[in-house]
Amino acid sequence: MNSPAGSSAVPRGASQTPPIAKVDLRREFNEVGIGEVLDQLDRDLIGLKPVKTRIREIASLLLIERIRKRMSLTSEVPTLHMSFTGNPGTGKTTVALRIASILHKLGFVRRGQVVSVTRDELVGQYIGHTAPKTKEILKKAMGGVLFIDEAYYLHRPDNERDYGQEAIEILLQVMESQREDLVVILAGYGDRMDRFFASNPGFRSRIAHHIDFPDYSDDELVAIAELMLRDMNYKFSPDARAAFISYVTLRKNQPLFSNARSIRNALDRMRLRQANRLVADLDRVLTADDIMSLEASDVLASRVFGKASG
């Protein structure tokens, strides 16, 4: 055909307009509407200070990069692949969704969808199964963000015939050659990700932003719980709140604690107990307040407290 098959599918609108000399930064900032996304990020996500700072930095960099492009000062597409490390339930997936919308607003990804996958969706079961599988996922993620959760499972050092390596090679190739079409975010627990990067140096060098997600403090976990309850139209009674604070302290020291996810599960169980308590007494008139509030007994019935005393 007329032009060689290139990787850039749709031209950026910015490259067609003639270069500009001056830019009103505030207007530019308001125009793309990332301020709104960043504020929402601040409001909706509790804690995560270092993460928010990093995202603000990245957003500013991209805003400037966008202006530079329009001034014809740069033609390179910045590398946007990221790695999120942190313990379970620290909000990696949630932040990935926000990042996708920031990138979309700034025009660095065209569609802004997030395709979230794990090893199962990328790696095949037999020879010749992996490449089509990986490519299919990549095609679906084109124009958006590919979020690979627990990415270190792709590499199995104990089995040298593992098909994960094939998926890694395809990923690396696309990450390099189609940077303007796809942003890849790898996520996983810190130490295992470090080992993964050590055995796959290609990944480390192709990823521009490494963001570490800290664990939540007790206060933050309680605040998260209250935010979750507000979204579900529930609330703690003052006693229940006090009980929940001690619940968080106890639960944190138990095994398999996964931050916000554990909190969500605990709240689900408390709602169950509350419903049970309300249904137990059928001969009463309920107010909206009764239905909305969780009592101390709902919290204290948790087996976490049983273990502590016994």
Binding site: M1, N2, S3, P4, A5, G6, S7, S8, A9, V10, P11, R110, R111, Q113, P132, K135, L138, K139, K140, M142, G143, G144, V174, Q178, D181, L182
Partner: protein
């Protein structure tokens, strides 16, 4: 002789940029895009071979273009077309189809006359290309 089949075939060949805009239009309509190839250009040859599976659930044309690039690497000497399949109820068929790759030389067709009983004549068209065995028709391999 230039083969004219499907949409846009009377226009100059589409550039990759134009192809991706057409594909993006199809994806925007929710159609699944397929890549097909053949080296038998007869107009009645409806069923071309498929390059991989139909691409469902795509959001962006870059994925389709990636496959097209792969297909051209292998079958760059043949006809390649894209077809967009609409799975919605009542349609369930191809809505758009256009050629995205053609051989450098298109030798064209000859008309064969076949005399039958009563000096009647039956006509048939044959592509000069199919005189050669499959795979080597357009100087490939």
């Amino acid at each position: 002789m230039r083969v004219t089949q499907g949409c846009f075939s009377f226009l100059p060949d589409l550039t990759d940029e134009q192809i991706s805009l057409q594909v993006q239009y199809c994806l925007g309509k929710g159609w699944a895009v397929n890549i097909e190839f053949t080296d038998d250009p007869h107009p009645r040859n409806n069923f071309w071979e498929m390059w991989g599976l139909p691409m469902f659930d795509l959001r962006d044309a870059a994925g389709v273009l990636m496959e097209l690039t792969e297909c051209r690497k292998v079958y760059g000497d043949r006809y390649i077309r894209m077809s967009a399949f609409d799975s919605s109820h009542g349609w369930e068929s191809v809505r758009l189809s256009f050629i995205v790759n053609r051989p450098k030389q298109e030798p064209g067709f000859r008309l064969e006359r076949h005399e039958v009983a009563g000096r009647n004549i039956r006509y048939t068209t044959k592509s000069y290309a199919v005189d050669r065995p499959e795979g080597g028709r357009y100087g490939g391999q």
